[in-house]
């Protein structure tokens, strides 16, 4: 049994807006093979479980329906590890400037 997520929780919902057969005529082949999906966050209007069809109230007060996919979803973007290809650049350009100064 799935845990109920309480009414009032900040959640993410998902919906298919256009199925592959409904895509615009101009989209390329790879895009045509997948649906146009939508995700939007809001406050859960009633208790619900992941996978349920639910209603949310968005931050501006609109009521939208969709499948409940996440409770209080994290922002997962960040920086990641340093990029080795960028690390030497600072030292390289400072060396060019030092070389220029020594010739002036």
């Amino acid at each position: 049994m799935t845990d109920l997520i309480a009414k009032g929780t900040w959640v993410d919902i998902h919906r298919v807006v256009l199925s592959p057969g409904e895509r615009a005529p101009q989209v390329p082949e790879d895009t045509r093979q997948v649906p146009l999906e939508m995700r939007v966050k809001g406050v859960l209007a009633e208790d619900g479980a992941l996978g349920d069809e639910v209603e949310v109230v968005t931050p501006i007060g609109r009521r939208l329906r969709g499948t409940l996919v996440a409770s209080n979803p994290a922002y997962t973007h960040g920086f990641g590890p340093p990029i080795p290809e960028l690390i030497p650049i600072g030292a390289e350009v400072r060396a060019i400037l030092r070389e220029r100064e020594s010739h002036e």
Binding site: A24, Q26, V27, L36, I60, H77, G78, I83, E99, R100
Partner: protein, 475 residues
């Protein structure tokens, strides 16, 4: 949003929804079969530079610092022939409330939406503009919806767009995130229809007039505060055309008529903008050729009937740089100037390395914007995603850069070059598209020829010559 009409049905209502949501009757400005009165369309809004500056100053938009990049200038001079290497300045637009010049564009749209009594605004933007609308909307107590193209069919979000999602949500906006595809416009239209909100389009007169203040400020700052002369060259990162258009118009209004306006884009040739597969292989979300080439050759592809962003009217030169060159320039800006910015805004900075090198030492190049940086919106985030998508990231000759396959970070600043886009080809492409749009049975009149000459910064004789050469010519 309710499950409602199909794609074709919603698109068929486009004109009516647009009219309601922008409050401009674009038909009033038609002067020929193709021609319309561009200047009158802009003037009728009532926002001259002084009015726009007054509106913007009320929300702390604009009046950003013009910063001389002394160490980068020295670096460029070390690569240049004796006596060459122009002074490079950057307009630090990251100092705006939401961290980019897009606050200038949003401010007039929001001001107008409020003046006209709309309850809320909708913006179709996956980038800084959405956050700017959300920020300005928050200040004006307007409800705000931002529609983004945010993730691919595997659910992988582009990190820079995820950061914009976070920013918009932090300003209290509703953020509709979509998977890849041009049908974003269909969702956008449905939202406008359901809410009756104002369309804070990037392409209305308000959005473009809001940038005139940027060109105006930088011209005056360069002359009066920094160098005693107007800039010789201003470089603007070019995508949908508003940045180039508004900046160039502002320069002209400040009297900087001899300043060369350069549009710069990241070369993303080979990647398809509507491709689900290519979406997370671009490493740039804007300022790239995937937007700038189609919007330069056909500005009215936008979400309003007559775009106010008409870059071909204003650019003296159009150049591209590579992805690797922009990441390199971003790193150099941080390490030599202590300014961590971008990266998308640094497209014009990369171009400045190459352009300043060819100019004389007393000449002045202004890079016309920066944008804030942070989680997701950073070379580290983009290059880590690129590696995850199987793209090679390596040091080498930037000419070996291949969008979507290989990002080549230069090994030396002398390798940074700009590639000129052939403006004659762009003009011909524009004219071909324009003639395709000519309604069946209509002919080009004198007004149309004058309009097309203004649109392409050419002459009536050039237009006639090109039309004559086109297969299936009209007019």
């Amino acid at each position: 949003m309710s499950k409602t009409l199909g794609y074709e049905a919603v698109m068929a209502e486009r004109a009516a929804v647009m009219h309601e949501s922008v409050g401009i009757d674009y038909r009033r400005y038609a002067t020929g079969a193709l021609a319309f009165d561009y200047e009158r369309m802009l003037a009728d809004t009532g926002y001259d530079v002084e009015t726009a500056r007054a509106v913007q100053s009320r929300t702390a938009v604009g009046d950003t610092p013009l910063v001389e990049l002394k160490n980068i200038t020295e670096l460029v001079r070390s690569l240049a022939e004796p006596g060459k290497g122009a002074r490079i300045f950057v307009k630090d637009e990251a100092a705006n409330p939401s961290g980019s010049f897009k606050d200038r564009r949003a401010s007039l749209s929001i001001h107008e939406a409020r003046r006209r009594g709309y309850e809320g605004v909708v913006a179709a933007s996956s980038g800084n503009y959405g956050a700017a609308v959300a920020s300005q909307g928050a200040k004006a107590s307007l409800r705000c919806i931002v529609v983004q193209e945010a993730f691919d069919s595997r659910g992988i979000a582009q990190p820079e767009i995820e950061e914009k999602t976070r920013a918009c949500e932090s300003y209290g906006a509703e953020v509709i995130r979509l998977s890849v595809g041009p049908e974003l416009f269909y969702v956008f239209l449905q939202v406008l229809k359901e809410t009756g909100y104002f369309n804070a389009s990037l392409y209305t007169p308000y959005s473009v007039l809001g940038i005139e203040t940027l060109g105006y400020e930088l011209a005056v700052q360069t002359r009066d505060e920094q160098t005693g002369r107007f800039p010789d060259v201003v470089i603007a990162t070019h995508a949908g055309g508003g940045n180039v258009t508004g900046t160039a118009r502002g320069l002209l209004k400040a009297g900087a008529a001899d300043t060369q306006m350069v549009a710069a884009s990241v070369d993303l040739s080979g990647l398809h903008m509507a491709s689900d597969r290519d979406f997370n292989r671009k490493s740039f979300t804007t300022g790239h050729t995937g937007f700038s080439l189609p919007f330069t050759t056909w500005p009215d592809r936008s979400d309003v009937p007559r775009s106010a962003a008409r870059a071909l009217r204003y650019m003296d030169r159009f150049v591209t740089v590579t992805q690797g060159e922009v990441f390199y320039a971003t790193q150099v800006l941080a390490e030599l100037e202590g300014m961590e910015r971008g990266p998308a805004g640094n497209t014009s900075l990369a171009a400045a390395f190459a352009i300043a090198r060819m100019l004389r030492e007393e000449q002045v190049v202004v890079v016309q914007e920066t944008e804030y940086t942070g989680a997701g919106k950073h070379p580290l985030a983009q290059l880590n995603l690129a590696k995850r998508m199987g793209i090679a990231v390596e040091r080498g000759d930037p000419r070996d850069n291949r969008p979507g396959q290989r990002i080549v970070i230069p090994t030396h600043p002398s390798q940074i070059e700009v590639v000129d886009v052939d403006l004659d080809r762009v003009r011909r492409s524009y004219l071909r598209r324009a003639l395709e749009a000519l309604p069946q049975g209509e002919r080009l009149g004198a007004e149309d020829l004058a309009f097309l000459a203004a649109e392409t910064r050419s002459s009536r004789s050039y237009i006639e010559e090109v039309i004559h050469e086109l297969p299936g010519k009209a007019g």
